[in-house]
């Protein structure tokens, strides 16, 4: 919607110039604009409908995924795993999607990562899930991007998607990290949150790991690989739900703004039309009286 606003703002001065030159042209210009704004409103309204339907599904899915995510984080919390390294190599995972027009969902995630990178961008790598975070981060921190997953957001995220990404991430070398995502709270609110990631080393050095029975590196390694996929799956579900709800509000606002614009334009259109009629009448009358 922002873009449309910009285009309209540019179009305004020329319309004003035209008015000075000739009334008829303005009338035409206004009716063209009126029509395009009406079309935009139709588009935003139907986009709202679509995202409302998608949101309902995403929320239902999220309800299922919540215990899953909580279960996946429970072990790291109970075992009190912390990253021990002095200056660890960090990995930040931005969970966004390919689709825009959904408020500040993607920029919020990207901003958190940008702030993190601004403090220290050496030794920190970024994995972007979704093209939006990539396009925001690429300009300033292009050299930190290590992996980008796209084709995200067209369909609801599945476990297979998460497993594929987790597979790629498992190949990377990092000591600690974070999954940055939008946590869904309600239709009108979401919050940028993060889930911690740990290396195998950090887990084996955790203070309470010794109370866990019959562990070897192989078990912990495969456990962590699976839990990375579960965490990603959970984060993607949260992100998808926040995105759809936010798109719904954004499109609702856009439709409202378009409605306002239509009202104003109709008023100007009618006034201008009346002015043209009056002017023509004056021209006829004054021409007749001159005879």
């Amino acid at each position: 919607m922002n873009n449309f606003g910009r285009i309209l703002a540019v179009a305004q001065p020329c319309a004003a110039q035209q008015q000075q030159a000739r009334g008829m042209a303005t009338l035409k210009a206004i009716s063209i604009r009126l029509k395009s704004v009406k079309n935009i409103q139709k588009i935003t309204q139907s986009m709202k409908m679509v995202s409302a339907a998608k949101y309902a599904r995403a929320e239902r899915d999220l309800k299922q995924a919540r215990p899953y995510g909580e279960g996946a984080t429970a072990f790291y919390e109970r075992a009190e795993v912390t990253s021990t390294e002095e200056k660890p190599s960090k990995l930040l995972i931005a969970v966004t999607s390919d689709r825009g027009l959904c408020g500040a969902v993607h920029s919020g995630v990207a901003r958190t990562i940008r702030n993190e990178l601004a403090t220290d961008d050496s030794n920190t790598k970024v994995v972007c899930i979704g093209d939006k975070s990539r396009s925001i981060l690429q300009r300033l921190y292009g050299q930190n991007l290590i992996l980008v997953a796209n084709e995200v957001g067209r369909k609801p995220p599945s476990f297979l998607d998460a497993a594929k990404i987790a597979d790629e991430i498992a190949k990377l070398d990092f000591q600690s990290g974070k999954i940055v995502y939008n946590k869904f709270k309600s239709v009108v609110s979401y919050q940028v949150s993060d889930l911690p990631l740990f290396s195998l080393e950090a887990v084996t050095k955790a203070p309470k790991i010794s109370i866990y029975d019959s562990l070897d590196d192989e078990v912990i390694k495969s456990y962590m690989e699976f839990s990375l996929a579960s965490l990603l799956y959970y984060a993607m579900k949260e992100g998808a739900c926040s995105e759809q709800s936010s798109r719904m509000t954004a499109m609702d606002n856009a439709s409202k703004n378009a409605g306002e614009m239509i009202e104003k334009l109709t008023l100007t259109f009618n006034r201008t039309r009346q002015a043209v009629i009056t002017r023509e009448l004056i021209e006829i009358i004054s021409g007749a009286s001159a005879l």
């Binding site: 309800k63 299922q64 995924a65 215990p67 899953y68 909580e70 279960g71 996946a72 429970a74 072990f75 109970r78 075992a79 599945s158 476990f159 497993a163 309470k208 109370i211 866990y212 029975d213 019959s214 562990l215 078990v219 912990i220 495969s222 456990y223 699976f226 839990s227 579960s230 799956y233």
Partner: protein, 162 residues
């Protein structure tokens, strides 16, 4: 201590899987907070159950309340849950993790899970034969490993429905 626990485990397993009623009467009355979720469905959230039998990659074992904390990965097979009211629920899982924490909470997270009674026997057979032909035609090592996993899942599916 760990060695002792390890040697005790088979004995406990035998005891727990054969006579769950007896073990609960013997004073394992503490509650278990049991969460069982798959990517496609949630079965239990923080529920109090008597016993859970899980197939892990290092062998199947039963979990009673206050089990020693451990983590393990699941292998394809049937998770059996004995609920507090004595009823039994069997769920087939493809893979996943099981976590037992020191606060008596147990998390079983599966990639995919399905009630055993909902499995179709002929469809399971079909999956197995498909996986076997896939294994036969596999050329690269990765393909072969994938097919082997598929065969394992197929075999367990057929066994679960039998």
């Amino acid at each position: 201590m760990a060695a002792l626990a390890r040697s005790l485990r088979p004995a406990m397993r035998l005891l727990s899987s054969s006579r769950p009623v007896l073990t609960t009467r013997r004073g394992y009355a503490d509650e278990m907070s049991f969460t069982f979720a798959a990517a496609n469905q949630v079965y239990y959230v923080g529920a109090n159950v008597k016993q859970v039998d899980v197939p892990s990659s290092s062998g199947s074992f039963g979990i009673l309340p206050n089990h020693v904390p451990t983590i393990a990965t699941l292998k394809p097979g049937v998770v059996t849950v004995y609920e507090a009211d004595g009823s039994k629920k069997e769920v087939f899982v493809s893979s996943g993790t099981v976590t037992i924490n020191d606060d008596a909470s147990v998390q079983v997270l599966a990639e995919e899970a399905c009630l055993v009674e909902e499995l179709d026997k002929s469809a399971c057979q079909e999956i197995l034969s498909k996986a076997q032909s896939q294994l036969a035609s596999a050329s690269s090592a990765v393909e072969k490993a994938e097919a082997e996993i598929a065969v394992e899942v197929g075999q367990e599916l057929v066994r679960a429905t039998a």
